[in-house]
Amino acid sequence: MAKEDRVVGSADEMAKTSWERVNDKVHVWPYLTRLEFMCAIIITIFLVVWSIVIDAPLEEPANPSVTPNPSKAPWYFLGLQELLVYFDPWMAGVVLPTLIIVGLMAIPFIDVNPKGNGYYTFHERRFAIFTFLFGFLVLWVWMVVQGTFLRGPGWNFFMPWEYWDPHKVVALTNVDLPYMLGFRSYWSQAAAGTVMIVLWYATIPAYYIWRRERMKNVGLVRYLIKASLNMTMMGIVAKMVLRIGLNVKYVLVTPWFNI
């Protein structure tokens, strides 16, 4: 194997001392600049050919009195539009997007694992990679794909071979989870919903106490932020399962907001 072709993280590479690894350098000109130049040419050719072959879409002039069905957000926001099936707009459109951005920014500060800095590895940081890929591939990329190709008129679900029938009727038989569990009065339902939400997040301190030896190098504040973000992400999944599997509308119903 040529010297340039050594794989990062290979046994050969890792067998070297730290000093050797950091100081094994090549000139930027020409070794990097020629690559950047090739990359730029390939991207340019690709973009020019694409722009010659496929025209950008342009529909009828804007008309506020004619609403198309389905009305879809730009494709990269369809993951958020998909969340509207499971949550009210204040959650799906405001709170959860904010948490996504804040959560992404928090990653370097809540991941205290010193390993895997600057090379590809899975086994040295299983939890971090699993969590990120789950959020990125399942909750973001897959939702975008589903929102683009499988959501038709009325935001109803259509398989790829099905006709997008604007008159498709889907029975809305959703009920609130507390009602399903037998709570009938308004306030008992609100109390039951609160208890369920509290129980969901109570796993956070419980896990901390159970694994307090392990948590020493994480720290309490860091752990609380990390675990809250994680449980919220898994909470989205839980709500999706409840909605699709059991036709649950809300878990918590209050006079001010519903979750």
């Binding site: 990359c39 722009s51 950008a56 529909e59 405001v94 370097p108 800095n117 600057g118 590809y120 990125f136």
Partner: protein, 262 residues
């Protein structure tokens, strides 16, 4: 009779040009393949001096970097160039916007091509920025000392989506206003600040004066929205993004260059 070539003596002409005061005032050195010249090529060039003169061997491997940060920046540059061309033809006014797009498509020289380039480069940039984030995560490059540059990167990702979203409205067709209507409807559910959001009645926001109407300049996606999104798309967001990009690139160098096994 010497031939024309002999009389011209092209080598002498070339030498005269390269040694002239004018040429040497612009280009300080040639292409000799010496270690000193390789270094000068980078440090003497405004566009290349973002780079260090030497780089760790693994960092030039496509399999390590995917080249996606650079591709994102390249696409941004294409968007600036094609965007400026589109601005020559486009007026962000309810009565004109759609007609200007039609003019651009059918009458302006290379208008359709410029619009296509702008649109597809915008979509490609969103994908490139996601792949860049994925690569940086998978190599653990956000770990110390590069935590803050990851934060800047997340802000740039958000700005990329905002740039794409504000630009989505400008063709002023059905696709545009309804996509932006769906997107901005969320703002009226903002807790406290949107009139349909939780606790809105405590703050006293109304459909005309809440988070959504501040964004739209009214209660629906109308001509005031078009102007607002145009200004955001062409001035506000690109400026902020450009500033953050400078910080992003500068921090790569200051945090010890591209990440790698220590």
């Amino acid at each position: 009779m010497p031939s024309l070539k002999e009389r011209l003596n092209l080598d002498q002409v070339k030498r005269n040009v390269l040694d002239s005061q004018v040429w040497r005032s612009m280009f300080r050195h040639g292409y000799e393949d010496t270690p000193r010249n390789r270094v000068l090529m980078v440090v003497d060039n405004l566009w290349l001096h973002l780079h260090p003169t030497k780089i760790r061997r693994h960092a030039i491997r496509i399999r390590f970097t995917w080249c996606m940060g650079g591709v994102t920046f390249l696409l941004f540059l294409y968007l600036v160039v094609t965007g400026v061309v589109l601005m020559f033809y486009y007026r962000p006014v309810g009565e004109y916007a759609y007609a200007d797009i039609k003019y651009l498509e059918f009458d302006a020289p290379f208008g359709m091509f410029m619009r296509n380039m702008h649109r597809w480069a915008a979509h490609a940039m969103v994908i490139a920025v996601w792949l860049h984030m994925l690569r940086v995560f998978m190599t653990g490059s956000y770990k110390p000392p590069r935590e803050f540059n990851w934060v800047i990167g997340v802000l740039l990702l958000t700005l990329t989506l905002l740039l794409s979203f504000t630009g989505y409205l400008l063709p002023w067709d059905q696709l545009a206003i309804w996509a932006v209507t769906v997107g901005t409807n969320m703002a009226r559910a903002t807790p406290l600040l949107g009139y349909e959001g939780p606790f809105a009645e405590m703050v006293g926001v109304t459909p005309r004066f809440d988070a959504r109407s501040a964004l739209l300049g009214g209660t629906i996606v109308g001509p005031p929205t078009l102007l607002r999104f145009y200004v955001l798309h062409c001035i506000v967001v690109p400026l902020i993004a450009a500033i953050l990009m400078m910080v992003h690139f500068w921090r790569i160098r200051k945090d010890g260059g591209i990440s790698g096994p220590l």
